[in-house]
Point group: C2
Chain length 352, copies 2
């Protein structure tokens, strides 16, 4: 198979982890006889420094003609400390999601058995947990009109959903549930929000087309609690952009570490694959970031964008093997990890 | 001391638990020589059934002339299953918060040592956790303009904050931190939301007036994760209405059960005290609800609204004593709880 993959390293540890993700893709090409070509493009803080634009036109046009995207992370403490800055790295990410129509963000939360003890949650609560999140990615309060008024003393963001936006992601979630444990938990705040009431209405309607799938509705506050109390009670979780952002980060604790979690953003055209973790400037440049989330993102890329199941599975098995042999990066290590099994980013990439 | 307390049982288990809360207040009056008089008013689904108004005028006028309010819960599955209903129980709660100016919701999360093992989180992660949430309660997407357009195919809610709303609750949080571990964690989504950027700006400014308090800013997604990963790293948490709703429910897992958590809603006039848990229709009428959240709400009422520290402490000690003696309601019981120590709602009230 001949394919072009565009790499967007972005900011912080984004560069370090996508380097390893790319190496794994190269190895797969070699082993399975594919021809992958790679190019790079700028996004986020880096792009702002170079062009004052967090998503330069050049990047966008590259992305529109590539076969799949491997993305790192964006973000920089400079902007976090100064809420008045007008040009911000995250705008690049959001604009990219919107322009490429990446409306469905799939975040599989699966605990590798070897990491059962790395979580702050009790192993007996976690064992067997396996959740697939469908987070809507191009609507909600992320993209509604926002601004200031009243002499900068009032700030607002419009939380808004259109029926078609909810329908298309609901269908994806119900379809996925059919080949899993046949349960969809839709999360909203319909007891307070009108946009959530529309969300619930539409999900109830779509559900009728999937009589073999059980649907359950939870309020976001209750879901945030139950996710920790009883993670095994969830199969597919379907939710909006903001609630999905919160729940999937929280759910990373189920997998032991954020450093293990990959995600796929898909829509009508090209697919984008990225870790759930952010740019993590506190550990940037130290070479200690866990590259497994980026490597597992590469596995999702092969599976979803290229339909290469065997190749995707080979990566997952490699990750399992390395974990089973006791190797760890610092975020998933514990007191029992021997010194010679503690790996830095590149060593972990080598082993996989 | 002579005081009038208005009880709003509301819906579901609200009735069962406030009955016990009231009994404890009566006992305190008797033991410490106070004169508390009680009256009742309707709110929520019950009030809708009787008057088609989730917050009847009669209720509101009672509340405006009382010394403190003990509230149960509102909500009913009928409305949750039908997002198109226009009159809803929660509107009563929201209107009450707004009309009474209850802009600060204090939610203390403290783990009773005896319940260290009741949580899904590992005891060694939890031990010593002690968090005080300040959730803003009369602004945000809860109260912004909401509606439908485009033939009911689009729904929206305006997320909106004014500077003064953020200032007044920030001051409360920083003051509270001064008599605790001197740390405030402010939670927002300033990398995406304009209202969060105003939030962060204002908190940064208010922080300058409290140089003895350390301030930290976290994004809501990251905070939802860290709360589980390392709950001890939080002291006072300051956040908006929606994020506070989510985080405090999630944090209930730190305390072992939602059934243990009380909250105080205060502002410029009267104070309202309520459990964090909701109406819980799945267990309504069975007499098994844990009344400790309502009883601990009564303790907060005595402390905050009446300044009766000794009386408030007496209640907390009674709760500790009963737990230490091994008594449990079903939500906080485990496999080791002997049958004769399993209590129903009323028996737990009796013991306290
Ligand atoms: C960086 C930020 C804008 C982003 C989001 O909130 O969507 C991130 O948290 C994510 O989950 O991909
Ligand atoms: C019942 C509901 C409207 C309410 C809220 O979201 O504020 C509840 O969840 C709470 O936390 O008090």
């Amino acid at each position: 198979m001949k394919k072009k993959i565009t790499i967007l390293p972005g900011d912080g540890i984004g560069k370090e982890v996508t380097t390893e993700g790319k190496r794994v893709l190269q190895k797969i090409a070699e082993l399975f006889g594919h021809e992958f070509t790679f190019d790079y493009a700028a996004i986020g803080h880096d792009a702002i420094e170079a062009t004052n634009n967090p998503l330069p036109d050049e990047t966008l046009s590259k992305l529109k003609s590539t076969d799949a995207i491997l993305f790192g992370a964006v973000g920089h403490p400079k902007y976090d400390n100064d809420p008045t800055l007008k040009v911000r790295p995250e705008q690049g990410l959001l604009k990219m999601r919107k322009e490429l129509g990446l409306y469905a963000n799939l975040r599989p939360i699966k605990l590798f058995d070897e990491l059962l003890h790395a979580s702050s949650i009790k192993p007996e609560i976690l064992k067997g947990a396996d959740i697939l999140f469908f987070r809507e990615l191009t609507g909600d309060v992320y993209f509604g009109e926002k601004g200031r008024k009243n002499n900068d003393n009032t700030a607002y963001d419009l939380m808004i959903y259109h029926r078609y936006e909810i329908e298309r992601i609901a269908h994806k979630a119900f379809k996925a549930a059919q080949s899993r444990r046949k349960k969809v938990t839709s999360v909203d705040k319909a007891n307070v929000l009108e946009s959530s009431r529309l969300w619930r209405e539409v999900v109830q309607q779509v559900a009728k087309e999937y009589p073999d799938v059980t649907v359950e509705h939870q309020f976001i506050d209750s879901a945030a609690m139950k996710l920790i109390q009883n993670p095994r009670s969830f199969d597919v979780v379907l939710t909006g952009n903001l609630f999905g952002d919160i729940l999937t980060d929280e759910a990373s604790q189920i997998a032991g570490s954020m450093g293990m979690l990959a995600s796929a953003s898909i829509g009508d055209t090209v697919g984008l694959y990225e870790p759930i973790h952010g740019s993590a400037h506190d550990i940037t440049g130290k070479g200690i970031a866990n590259p497994l989330a980026s490597i597992l993102s590469a596995s999702l890329l092969l599976d979803i964008s290229f339909g290469l199941k065997e190749e995707a599975t080979a990566i997952i098995q490699a990750v399992e093997g390395v974990l089973r042999a006791g190797f760890r990066t610092v975020d998933i290590a514990d007191a029992t990890t021997p010194k010679d099994k503690m790996l830095n980013t590149q060593m972990m990439g080598d082993l996989i």
